[in-house]
């Protein structure tokens, strides 16, 4: 069964969509979209480094994404406006990544594959990495769900309940770095954040509780992955961007329909 590239691609998309959904909800609630971008763009630098050092791309992307996420977490609240800081870091990470790639001699690197993803080229071992990463992120988010939610609501309320918001932030940071590292193959560094945010945003009008939103986001994300792959196959369009397009159409549908359904 896994010998069919479409089935491998579908399973890969499924895995990332389901892991990204609850995490994406936190990215939306905490207004961390730019934070996600910085992490994802840094992954390109990770890819370049891992090729230069001949290590696995996943490990390189994970390491640099994590380093970036930790840097941003540490620098936040130290006198820089967050959006300025993230704007500087996100774009410089991408630029440094692209420049480093040009230094790689003798290695032919398909940059497009890392910027926009190449889901159709997912092989069995990629699939194993993607599903392990996705399962890890999902378990992490479920395990910390309640403290994370409390810390998201208000750091002081969290403190009063004996929860350390910094620690919860670290959990999110770690989850985000893992999702970036596994998703870079699916939608690429430039569109990872779309996979986090769009399903969550599309789920918002359907939900009355955080749990409903996370669950709906997973369903919408998975539907976008399957539908997007199908469409890209039918119309011969690039798979990653087609998945994101499908997700945004779903977003438009829930956003518009919520205006006509009284709640």
């Amino acid at each position: 069964m896994l010998d069919d590239f479409m089935i491998r691609a579908t399973l890969a998309g499924f895995g990332v969509a389901i892991a990204a959904a609850p995490l994406g909800c936190f990215v939306v609630w905490r207004r961390m979209a730019y934070f996600g971008d910085a992490t994802a763009h840094a992954a390109i630098l990770g890819v370049a480094l891992s090729l230069a050092l001949s290590t696995s791309v996943f490990a390189g992307a994970l390491a640099v994404a994590l380093a970036m996420a930790l840097t941003v977490s540490t620098l936040s609240g130290r006198g820089f406006a967050m959006d300025t800081l993230l704007g500087v870091l996100a774009h410089s990470a991408l630029a440094f990544g692209l420049v480093s790639v040009s230094f790689l001699q003798g290695i032919r690197l398909d940059l497009d594959a890392y910027l926009f993803g190449d889901i159709l080229a997912v092989n069995k071992s990629d699939l194993a990495v993607i599903w392990s990463g996705a399962a890890l992120v999902l378990l992490l988010t479920l395990w910390r769900w309640s403290p994370l939610l409390t810390a998201t609501l208000n750091p002081d309320l969290a403190h009063a309940s004996g929860i350390d918001p910094k620690r919860e932030q670290l959990v999110l940071t770690l989850g985000l770095a893992i999702v970036v590292a596994v998703a870079i193959k699916i939608v690429g560094a430039l569109l990872i954040v779309a996979l986090l945010i769009i399903p969550a945003a599309a789920a918002r009008p359907l939900a009355r509780t955080p749990e409903q939103m996370a669950f709906s986001a997973a369903v919408i994300g998975a539907a976008a992955a399957v539908g997007g792959l199908r469409l890209s196959f039918l119309f011969d369009t690039p798979s990653g961007p087609t998945i994101v397009c499908t997700a945004s159409v779903l977003f438009a549908i829930t956003a518009v329909s919520s205006r006509f359904i009284p709640r």
Binding site: R31, L149, A160, I163, R208, T209
Partner: protein
Amino acid sequence: MQSPMRLVTLENLTVRLGGHTALSEVDFHIDKGEIVTVVGPNGSGKTTLLKAIIGAVKPRSGTLKHADGLRIGYVPQRLAIDTTLPLTVRRFLCLPHRHAEPTLQEALKNAGADGLIERQMTALSGGQFQRVLLARAILEKPDLLILDEPTTGLDQPGSAALYRQIEKVRRDLGSAVLMVSHELHVVMSASDRVICLNGHVCCHGAPEIVADAPEYRALFGSGTQGALALYRHDHDHHHHGHPAHSHEHGDCDHA
């Protein structure tokens, strides 16, 4: 007379925030069942004091002691819930720990927020929102209820109603109450002790002692005189026959 149980004790507490000293060498304590109010101008460290007590800001020096197993109910000054976060009152009350339905209903009833349990948090009015915050704070029957300007954004009748509710909650649960308030007449008539803060403890003691202290007058000036006069009338009325009590605890010094 049994010696009162200390819930929280601060000794010589100094807190620095972003390069400036927010609190300097603060001594403070609150006992079981007491109502203590913190007053002071903007930026005087009132919120910082409360945050230090709940552990949200780390002191640079000094000690902070909680009684063993102390349960704190906290109502923050501002709670902005992002509209992207769907949250019913029921779900909000169950953060971070789930509670049985009767517990939720009882807390809402005690906080004067009956019938709101299915509502979205973002759809509540200001007064309803504050009551739900109060309900969450009293869910676990706290020994100490900490309220940071609980009536922010409420109109006069709304804030009077909320203060009555807090007073009722305190009677029902027997919790001590520590709050920051700008409404001096309320503070003065309802508190056992008042702490006047301006980076350091300017003066503290029974309300009438603090109101007469020159440090307090220097901070609040003549603008509050009318309000104080109003309260005094009230206060004599309510606390008639206990003049010795306040003098016992009265203590004003310039730190």
